[in-house]
Symmetry: C2
Subunit: 165 residues, 2 copies
Amino acid sequence: MAQLSSASSRTASFILRILAFAFSLISLIVLATNTVIAIDSDYDESKVHFQDFYAYRYMLATIVIGTAYSLLQLVASICTAVSGREGILVLAFFGDKFMSYVLATGAAAGFGVTVDLKRITDAEGLEMSKFYEKAYASASLLLLAFICTAVLSIISAFILPRRSL
Amino acid sequence: MAQLSSASSRTASFILRILAFAFSLISLIVLATNTVIAIDSDYDESKVHFQDFYAYRYMLATIVIGTAYSLLQLVASICTAVSGREGILVLAFFGDKFMSYVLATGAAAGFGVTVDLKRITDAEGLEMSKFYEKAYASASLLLLAFICTAVLSIISAFILPRRSL
């Protein structure tokens, strides 16, 4: 029974790590390429980059850290599966916990700034809906990566003390 | 040894719950009273409420839920201390985990929107620095409440399987 649940939790963890990596990588690409030509009510054009807003810069930082972490954990879980040895469970426990907070704050900052920025620029008659669509898409993907990491964090919390105590 | 660590983790939990409740309550008061008269470059005045921005509304929602939860857990831990019985550890484990995410996203949305809103209104020559000071104060207090809940979540993760397995 313990053997079975250990094997199934390892498989679930592996799938979740692949998903977390994929979501954060796509989120990174979508955000990093988010640049539009904004058109105001006088038909004047201006270029808007995601770097123009601090919240998106923070979001990018969280995505980069999240992608690197999930890639690292993915490689580590392949190594432990191949060698048949135990991974460093305490690292996974604190790592997953910390990373899930980082991703949650990144997604929240992204959503928070997008919803109010959109209202302000809409009120000013600035047409840049494509920019917000991509920002929402990136934040949503980051939210999915966060959910995967949060579930991983629950799994690693249950695995950790069972073996170390 | 186990007795000692159990007693000390219970004391630490109790102190952290008091702190989390205090921080979120003060954060709630600071945010809920955040209204200023904004003065633009033509000396025109306009009233700005925190409710004018969706990110602050979300932040308020997270603070209200956080305050209610920490009060509930505080009462529950007093009850279990008085009766000498065990509390419902699974509820604390998932509750602390969930609430720490809720508070983290609330603080992140608050910080994210404040930093970029301030830059936009400063560029427009709108004087409302008092508003942002209170917004930052509220978000910082919420961040402290989150840190307390995150540590509680780690403690409850270590307590839970030790007793239930």
